[in-house]
């Protein structure tokens, strides 16, 4: 239980499939309560002894099955089974005589479906449950009217149906909204992440060129470094395995990979699958290219760089928004052009950072749709109208 609560508390750091597994587990706990309750409902509904036991046991099996599916990581399938279980339970409760709590159960079924936060699942199962709920009210409208009610069958039935439909629609809107926000944020995150990788590629290349010039051996070739990693890994592994030094061979393989073409090792079908698997896993953490490990290391380094300054324009890169004055906008455009044409910002054909952008490349960039992030249409038109002046004097 403590682990479950901890996982909920730190759910933002879980992967999509881990979150889904967590949700299935939570739903299973709640469904267990319903299955237990259904034993008593069977009694109040005067079902036969066999039915009173068999049906809850059947639902119990479904819960065990759902649990087993999460164990083997078939989380999506487990989600569908858990939704079908609650729909099955609702259908079972319909046979009871308390119409109001059966009606409430339609809301609970919708809640379980909402809990998964999956729009297609909600449209499909949620739509079905809502239609079933509306139909249930329609056929039972005469007996579902409140004993206190003075408003007649139509108003009562309309209220039941309108609230159920309203509930479904509002959550559908919430889904669409959160989906669009989530997708937009995710898109922005991935795009920024790719941009970061490019800057980090440059950092790594500069560093390699410095080491090459100074004839410094790469760290992964340093025997002391290799021994330190091996010793540390064995020490950590002792907490996971009785024979901690089992990892030593993999550490050796990790350093060996630095002298190999990793892609070729991964794709070599003649090699044992375990070799290829470790190559694929360890590739992310090699030190001979800007790997995931270097990205994290540079990320860590940025904690010590930069200043604490913040102004509203700190993350604004559009010249049109940065400057209000028209002359400022044109002057900044000229400075941007000059910078791109004068400063080294690109890799050359030997993969060294040694190349400036040409006038033609800058023009291609300026007119591209993506470059609207930096300059406006008006600025592009100004540039195209005076392209020769830019080319000749900047």
């Amino acid at each position: 239980m403590k682990t479950l609560i901890n996982r909920i508390r730190h759910s933002e750091f879980l992967t999509f499939s881990e979150v889904l597994r967590l949700k299935v587990t939570i739903v299973n706990v709640f469904l267990m309560v319903f299955v237990l309750l259904s034993v008593f409902v069977s009694k109040t509904n005067n079902f036969s002894w066999n039915m009173s036991i068999l049906i809850p046991v059947g639902f119990g099996f479904l819960l065990v099955f759902t649990f087993l599916l999460t164990v083997v990581n078939l989380n999506r399938f487990a989600m569908h089974i858990s939704i079908l279980t609650i729909i099955g339970l609702t259908a079972y409760y319909i046979s009871g005589s308390d119409y109001f709590f059966t009606y409430i159960l339609f809301f609970v079924s919708l809640t379980v479906i909402i809990f998964y936060q999956d729009i297609l699942t909600y449209l499909l199962y949620g739509g079905f449950v809502t239609i079933a709920g509306v139909y249930y009210v329609y056929i039972n409208s005469a007996i579902m009217i409140g004993a206190n009610s003075t408003h007649g069958i139509i108003v009562s039935s309309l209220t039941y149906q309108a609230i159920l439909i309203g509930f479904y629609v509002v959550f559908l809107i919430q889904f669409l909204l959160s989906d669009s926000i989530y997708e937009k944020l995710n898109n922005e995150y991935v795009r920024m992440n790719k941009a970061l990788e490019r800057y980090q590629d440059f950092s790594y290349s500069h560093l390699s060129e410095i080491q090459e010039k100074k004839k410094i051996k790469p760290i992964y070739e340093n025997p002391d470094f290799q021994k330190a990693i091996s010793e540390l890994s064995i020490f950590i592994n002792e907490f996971f395995e009785e024979k901690g030094d089992n990892i030593a061979e993999v550490v050796e393989f990790y350093f060996f990979l630095h002298s190999q073409e990793v892609e070729e090792v991964i794709e070599d079908a003649k090699l044992p699958s375990i070799t290829r698997r470790y190559s694929l896993e360890l590739k992310k953490y090699l030190l001979n290219y800007r790997s995931e490990l270097y990205s994290i290391l540079y990320e860590f380094t940025t904690l010590f760089k930069g200043d604490d300054h913040f102004d509203e324009q700190r993350y604004e890169y559009n010249l049109d928004k940065l400057f209000e004055n028209r002359i400022d906008k044109l002057l900044s455009l000229a400075i941007l052009y000059k910078y791109l044409k004068t400063e080294v910002t690109q890799y050359d054909k030997w993969s060294k950072i040694n190349r400036k952008l040409t006038h033609e490349e800058i023009t291609e960039m300026f007119v591209s749709k993506e470059f609207r992030e930096f300059i406006s249409f008006e600025q592009v038109n100004f540039y195209l109208d005076n392209e020769e002046l830019f080319k000749d004097f900047l």
């Binding site: 999509f16 119409y99 108003v155 950092s203 360890l282 290391l297 400022d328 002057l331 910078y339 470059f371």
Partner: protein
């Protein structure tokens, strides 16, 4: 030991996060107000039905109209819009629950009771932690009191002895599931706000880091004077072509002065410019300020990035030493390499003391980039880690 999660966050993060949230909060406020209008229209429909007395409906419609007006007033106040919209959000949630409660108490029928669920659904659109707690508590408390104090309310024509216990259990399950669902959703959304805000700052710092390395490599400096000469020639020809006087030259002079003086110090010299105008020009200055350099570097490197839909939802986007699909050996080795590199002197970062590493790993988001059981081993045995690396790496890199 309590985690100090803000200790190693970029200082700019909170303010930028607020600006991202504000954009979404505006959209949510509009949607909730549309829903309230729809709710009010539904109630208006019942005014025209003979079975319902209009005097029972009017107060609820008036309350909804007041909430909509309050929202409109708060949204139109330009000063501190973020706080205004947050306040409007809390008022709306309280208002919607009060309106539904008023309707429930007026009619006292089982059908109207479920209107509380609808109110909860409306509040959930905001996807905000405090509003989620507020609506969950409102539903739980009002629902429980109504069920326990007025059990007869749930009597139906077809069943005069309702099973109140079941209704209460269902209500509890309903609230708990929806609260948990919102909690997980909000946590993940907030995480994304953090990530986006953090990555924007990280972008600036990574560009600066790459520039730092470039200057280590070639000692190259931007030749600002050559920029001014070119700009002057360019503007002369441009003015001649357009047939106006050179409106750029004075600004170029100011840019030259901004290399050695701050905008405020130039107010006396350039009396026809105010501070705001000088500060705008200061953004273009290349020797002291970094804005144009960062902008140009970003433009030159990130312009052609394309994101496919497949990549958007890929877990591989999150860099860490704890990918669920990796073996324990890989997780151990990657962390061991990372830790050792942190301890060593590098061109871009001096070697860190173990205590400093421990502090950062424990109190920053890097904690979550490392497998939980491995980071626990490190936190409990950091002195051993320190000794191993020191023993082997005495000579440095």
């Amino acid at each position: 030991m309590e985690k100090q999660t803000n200790k190693f966050k970029y200082a700019q993060l909170e303010r930028f996060k607020e600006s991202i949230e504000l954009e979404h909060l505006k959209r949510k406020t509009i949607i909730v107000n549309i829903l309230m209008i729809a709710f009010a229209l539904c109630l208006t429909y019942f005014l025209f039905r003979d079975e319902v007395e209009p005097r029972k409906i009017y107060p609820a419609i008036i309350m909804l109209v007041i909430i909509i007006i309050i929202n409109w007033v708060f949204a139109s106040l330009e000063f501190d819009l973020y706080s205004n919209l947050k306040l409007a959000m809390y008022i709306t949630i309280m208002g919607v629950f009060s309106t539904t409660l008023l309707l429930v108490l007026t009619f006292m029928t089982p059908s109207i009771f479920t209107l509380l669920f609808f109110a909860y659904a409306v509040a959930s659109v905001y996807q905000d932690n405090k509003s989620m707690m507020l609506s969950s508590l409102s539903l739980m408390i009002t629902g429980t009191i109504l069920i326990l104090k007025n059990p007869s309310m749930f009597s139906l024509v077809g069943n005069t002895s309702p099973q109140i216990f079941y209704v209460l259990v269902f209500l509890i399950v309903f609230v708990m599931l929806l609260t948990l669902s919102s909690y997980i959703l909000i946590k993940r959304k907030t995480f994304f706000y953090n990530q986006i805000a953090s990555i924007k700052e990280s972008e600036i710092r990574n560009i600066l880091l790459a520039e730092e390395m470039a200057s280590l490599k070639s000692k190259h400096q931007i030749d600002v004077n050559e920029y001014f000469t070119s700009l002057k020639t360019f503007s002369d020809h441009l003015s001649e072509k357009i047939g106006i006087e050179n409106v750029f030259s004075r600004k170029i002079d100011i840019l030259k002065d901004l290399q050695i003086k701050k905008p405020i110090e130039l107010l006396d010299k350039y009396k026809d410019y105010n501070l705001e105008e000088l500060e705008a020009l200061n953004l273009m200055e290349l020797k002291v300020n970094e804005k144009m350099m960062i902008l140009a570097e970003k433009a030159s490197k990130s312009n052609d990035i394309i994101v496919s839909r497949k990549e958007i939802f890929s877990e591989a986007q999150f860099k860490s030493f704890a990918h669920y699909y990796d073996s324990t050996y890989t997780k151990i080795i990657s962390f061991a390499v990372f830790y050792t590199l942190l301890k060593l002197d590098k061109q871009y970062l001096k070697g860190l003391e173990d205590e400093e590493i421990k502090d950062i790993l424990y109190n920053s988001e890097f904690f979550y980039k490392i497998d939980r059981s491995i980071i626990d081993v490190y936190l409990n045995n950091n002195d051993v880690f320190n000794t191993i690396v020191d023993d082997y790496m005495k000579g440095g890199m």
